[in-house]
């Protein structure tokens, strides 16, 4: 594990009006990590991904990407950084008016100069990686949820990112498709040597994918460990979350962080 983190969320506090969503987060993501961030729905996990991308700015604290301070970057430099980070959204967020081919070509056409043939080859290659060859001319509405997620992943790969952020990659998918997506994340990060941060609250999926796990609770990271140590954590919140029991400290519904964007 490298000493210098790829991403470092340093003492992050994020407030939306009176609500404190993140309360002094300190989290490092190292190259090669498959870091799973766990937590209750609406607890601020996806918000952390938006902080990394500079879409949201923290109320206090610093978001670092290598040596860069994300919230201080100029618009063009921030866009350059974003082009090196892939994001897979919970509901895929494919452009509904565009075909799969156009969706995949979009970042490359807009951000770099590449001949049409090269872009087409890249599209074919990435669709093959995610097992979606032959869907180039389909529009997102013609695809199932799992297929859309795979296309979304292929789109995230188009710029050959060094970091991929996954927002609830298996939410709403059946167990078989969930496993397929999980396997895809594992094989892909190994094959392309990509770092990934995965936000989820699905334990099975989390343990399958993670090389590291962090638990977000009431705006704080209360556990950050390897999957084996995480499973055996003495923290009662983590224990309750892992076992999924109703008895324990987790009783309240958290603030809905995402609705406060």
């Amino acid at each position: 594990m490298s000493e210098t983190p790829l991403v470092h969320l340093e003492n992050i506090v994020l407030r939306f009006g009176e609500k404190t969503v993140l309360d002094g987060i300190d989290l490092k993501v190292f190259s090669g990590d498959r870091l799973v961030i766990l937590g209750q729905s609406g607890g601020g996990k996806s918000t952390m991904l938006r902080l990394i991308l500079g879409i949201l700015k923290p109320t206090m604290g610093v978001v670092r990407y290598r040596h860069l301070q994300v919230q201080k970057l100029s618009r063009s430099k921030l866009n350059l950084l974003r082009s090196r980070v892939g994001m897979v959204y919970q509901y895929s967020a494919l452009i509904s008016s565009m075909t799969v081919r156009e969706n995949l070509a979009l970042p490359v056409e807009e951000l770099v100069r590449k001949p049409r043939k090269e872009i087409d080859a890249l599209i074919r290659e990435n669709l093959e990686i995610v097992g979606m060859s032959g869907t180039e001319e389909k529009v997102p509405s013609e695809l199932s949820g799992g297929m859309r997620k795979r296309v979304s992943l292929a789109r995230a790969l188009m710029m050959q990112p060094e970091l991929i952020l996954f927002d609830e990659p298996t939410a709403g998918l059946d167990p078989v498709i969930s496993s397929v997506i999980d396997e895809l994340i594992i094989s892909l990060t190994k094959k392309t040597n990509t770092t990934s941060v995965i936000v989820t609250h699905e334990m099975e999926s989390a343990f399958r994918v993670a090389t590291r796990m962090a638990m977000l609770y009431q705006g704080k990271i209360i556990e950050d460990a390897s999957p084996d140590r995480f499973r055996l954590s003495a923290n009662p919140v983590v224990h309750q979350f892992v076992t999924g029991t109703t008895k324990g400290p987790i009783t309240e519904t958290p603030l809905n962080a995402d609705s406060s964007k």
Binding site: L53, I55, R75, S76, L78, N79, L80, L81, R82, S83, V85, M87, Y89, Q90, Y91, A93, L94, I95, S96, L106, P107, E110, L111, M159, S259
Partner: protein, 263 residues
């Protein structure tokens, strides 16, 4: 009551500031892209927008303007006939439409037809996180989504306004011939004599400005949607109401200013 007035004023000023911010940021994103040696936005997107904003709006603008011109000529003609001055109808219609009603009517039609569509489209994209996905990829969503729409509506409003004037003149000419016994030649001569270059220029400028306003309001409403399908519906209604009110408000302000300046 005072609190409510204060609150509403504050909110209105906040929205005006945000719309201005949207415009400046769109220009900044365009400038950034040009600095990188790239086109400000995709031509294909601009053409798609101009096609539906311009070509798609022609029938409605023509129809509304034709019938309004016809009705205005008929009503004013009957009144002026009492004083034997019905020959002033072409002058009245041409000045009213070139300087005032052409841009205003086109603005109202486009606010309802195109502004609503812009808001609904961008609102749906906002709700389904498509706008954020574009931003997350490092593509400026304002230059990619807003700029082509703004350019399309601002550049085509003057063209549609000209068509509106022509349709109104044809409508009023027709009724003047049939009901007021003004032969087409005399009607045409009166129109040409009464048209002043400054009126035409003012009308075209107003049309472009109204187009920009409608586009900005519609895009702003779309990009700030929250609350799912219901939010999109509300934003679309708000977009049409605010656009039409703003266009009428600015038109009045414009008239007061121009009248003061030109005496």
């Amino acid at each position: 009551m005072l609190y409510r007035i204060g609150y509403l004023t504050g909110r209105t000023l906040e929205h005006i500031g945000s719309i201005f911010w949207l415009f400046l940021n769109t220009l900044e994103e365009i400038a950034d892209n040009i600095r990188r040696g790239r086109l400000p936005f995709r031509w294909s997107m601009l053409f798609a927008q101009t096609d539906r904003t311009g070509v798609g709006s022609i029938p409605l603008v023509l129809m509304v303007s034709f019938f309004l011109g016809l009705t205005m000529a008929l009503l004013t003609g009957y009144q002026l006939e009492k004083f034997g001055t019905e020959r002033l109808v072409p002058t009245l219609i041409s000045i009213a439409f070139t300087r005032e009603l052409g841009p205003l009517l086109t603005g109202i039609v486009l606010a309802a037809r195109i502004g609503a569509a812009y808001t609904a489209e961008l609102g749906t994209m906002q709700v389904s996180e498509e706008v954020e996905a574009i931003e997350a990829m490092g593509i400026g969503p304002l230059r990619f989504l807003v700029a082509p729409r703004l350019v399309a509506i601002a550049s085509l409003m003057p063209c549609l306004s000209v068509l509106s004037v022509v349709a109104a003149l044809v409508g009023s000419g027709l009724i003047s011939w049939v009901a007021l016994n003004l032969v087409p030649d005399a009607y045409f001569d009166a129109v040409v004599t009464s048209l002043i270059v400054s009126d035409i220029v003012i009308g075209l400028f107003k049309a472009m400005f109204f187009g920009l306003l409608i586009g900005l309001i519609a895009c702003y409403q779309g990009l700030t949607v929250s609350g799912g399908a219901e939010g999109v519906g509300k934003a679309t209604t708000d977009s049409v109401v605010i656009s039409i009110t703003t266009v009428i408000g600015f038109d009045t302000l414009f008239n007061v200013m121009v009248t003061r300046i030109t005496g």
